[in-house]
Symmetry: C2
Subunit: 418 residues, 2 copies
């Protein structure tokens, strides 16, 4: 079968599965998730055998050992994947929720009820655990999913898909609710992005190049996650101890992720007292500082920032620091260089806290908390399939609700329009 | 200035205006809407002078007189446009509404608050009153808008834009909140659809060809409104009198619009009693019937439907009729030929009513009411900018809320991630 034909066949299978899935109650969906979790442990031998093929190919290609570690499905990773599925099973079913209902003057009773999106195309470059995580979220929200992972994880992804299909069958659900594209041919993505009659939304997750490619070539609506150039603004009225803890956490706790702080903005009135001890603490954790002129005056050992630093997503132990004259300059800087992802203010001042929450136009805006909280689990959505940085449909972490839409239902008793 | 440069400049202006608009309270927005309404009446001489240019060009081109009538901005039309703006002013402001707020175990207080989408590109082929209507809805929801109307209405649209800009200025709002593209050059649309950094969403409104063109050429997310092939299913337990009233209304009250019924499905048990008198009533209103074999047996004077009739959006006094063996066949038919727009069931049976509401996957699903109710005003959204037939972001009529998104706001007191 040609790649084009193969992908079309998968999309038709997914569409058929989605028609059944959308009517299924939570019992069956949760049962399938529980079975998937059990099978991940039970069949770990088979999984690890296939995973070993990916690992050995990666080694053969000279892949960095940190990246090889991310590919590995050891017992601990499999247990945590199984736990993730059980957590999704325990979440409420978003499908069927009537989010509002009202009555019209003519007696029509109008409601909005959550329904699945239909078929989701998920294109990613991540670790194989994401295959299971994304499949679980799509299934729970009543959607069929076509998963196109990275070529370096293809054997792992395919064995996981096979095991999930067994669980679906055992639970009496269509096997084709979850499908992994069984080829690394790039034509697969091109075809996938053209099937607007079969696929309702495409979610790319990976580097900026992948996301741009998907966005520019898709006829299907795309839920995008671009970069996170996240700012923390340390106001003149920040509590220095809180500021030190929160900024340190935002930069150092896990620097390689999109919600880590990349730029710290510091009010000039607090800079002299706050910056030197804060910077020493960063230095102790191996953080490289790139500062504006005034920062470098206070920290003569620091590197001077270039214009390009202000827009950089380092994803590393590097921090840009700028001393600002106040809120206005901080807000202008965020507007100019930010990526609408996550911004925080640290202050004890009520009015400035409220102003920051109101005026900053990012998907998550925080007062006195670490930018690292932009995460579906941390914010209480239960789980997330990604973080949207564009405003349509979803803005910020996308949980189960963001994998649904609403339709209108209308109870009448013979009403006509006049 | 080249067309490309012109559109880029408009988009930059819109982006700047949107940064101010998103912070503006409802007072100023409502004041601008009221001023626009007043000026439409006050300056009707100037408007009608420009409108006369469009009318005379249209006549010169031999445009059908019904279409010329749709272009005309007579006093009555202007009054109704002004009333529309005042109605929008009276609607609640969606911006700033906290749709939910909750507390996390670590004390973080997390909320979701409505914010404008930003800049909207509205591309349409409609009457010039839509220019004012769309501008009003975008302004009220805190969005800047770039309006690209049809070439046949360009003089009317430009004079309306000028008057709206005066009202915006008088109300202390940025003039470039509302801009009409001042050229009929097709390059304008191509450029508009490429400015993903400046425009947040594109809403096309018009024929299927326009919508397909926009969808296939846009890098910006598109809110689409494809065709409405709307069905009414007359169940075996339908009340014949209600069924006759509702079906007649759905087909005849305004046949040229997307929510008019195009296909009537009739249960075989009721067909013999229901169809002949119903069809005579339709015939009396000039409706042409295209029936399945069994329909034509009962109505020997009717035309036989071709396969293509089942997928046709007639937008005219034509009705396809099919006799079905029951719910299953009706649901299959809708699944196969429907356009996810509007579907209704007529029945006194509780279980079948509930099943229809649950299983039909259209943007509006009704029991015992006319399909003509798929409309933002009729369903209680206050007003609408269009009807979305794709599921992302909005499905069904789009009112003010659908012109917004939500961001997360987080109140902390020093929380960090561990």
């Amino acid at each position: 079968m040609s790649v084009d034909r193969l992908i079309r066949d998968m999309a038709e299978g997914a569409k058929g599965a989605s028609r059944i899935l959308r009517k299924v109650g939570r019992d069956k969906k949760d049962r399938a998730l529980e079975l998937m979790a059990a099978k991940l442990i039970e069949k770990r031998g088979r999984i690890q055998e296939e995973n070993a093929k990916d690992l050995s190919l990666a080694k053969g290609k000279g892949m960095a050992s940190a990246l090889i570690d991310r590919l590995r499905l050891d017992d601990k990773t499999l247990r945590s994947m199984a736990d993730g599925l059980r957590e999704i099973a325990a979440l409420p079913d978003p499908v069927g929720e009537v989010i509002r209902m009202w009555k019209r003057p003519n007696g029509l009773q109008v409601g909005r009820v959550r329904i699945p999106l239909g078929v989701i195309g998920f294109i990613y470059e991540s670790r194989p655990n994401v295959t299971v995580d994304a499949a679980g979220l799509c299934l729970k929200s009543g959607n069929a999913v076509i998963l196109k992972g990275g070529s370096e994880a293809i054997n792992s992804n395919l064995v996981l898909a096979g095991i999930m299909a067994e669980a679906l069958e055992d639970a009496g659900l269509p096997e084709r609710s979850v499908q992994v594209v069984p080829t690394t041919d790039r034509e697969a993505v091109t075809t996938l992005l053209s099937l607007e009659d079969h696929i309702d939304v495409v979610i790319p997750r990976g580097g900026e190049a992948l996301i741009r490619y998907v966005n520019e070539n898709s006829r299907i609506p795309v839920l995008k996650h671009y970069k996170g150039v996240c700012h923390t603004y340390v106001d003149e009225d920040a509590d220095p101890e809180v500021a030190s803890e929160v900024c340190f956490n935002a930069k150092v706790q896990r620097p390689g992720v999109c919600n880590a702080m990349e730029t710290m903005l510091v009010h000039e009135k607090i800079a002299e007292a706050f910056l030197p001890p804060m910077a020493r603490r960063f230095q102790g954790a191996g953080v490289e500082i790139r500062g504006c002129d005034r920062t470098v005056e206070l920290l003569p050992w620091a590197k001077r920032a270039e214009e390009s630093d202000w827009a950089e997503e380092y994803l590393d132990l590097i921090l840009a620091i700028k001393v600002v004259s106040g809120m206005d300059e901080a807000l202008d800087h965020i507007e100019r260089y930010g990526s609408d992802h996550t911004e925080a203010i640290l202050t004890k001042d009520y009015q400035r806290a409220q102003r920051f929450l109101e005026e900053v136009d990012s998907s998550v805006v925080l007062v006195n908390a670490s930018t690292r909280f932009n995460d579906g689990n941390q914010l209480g959505l239960g789980a997330e399939i990604g973080i949207s940085t564009s405003k349509l449909h979803a803005f910020g972490p996308m949980g189960l609700e963001e994998l649904t839409t609403t339709k209108f239902i209308v109870y009448g008793n013979g009403q006509v329009r006049t």
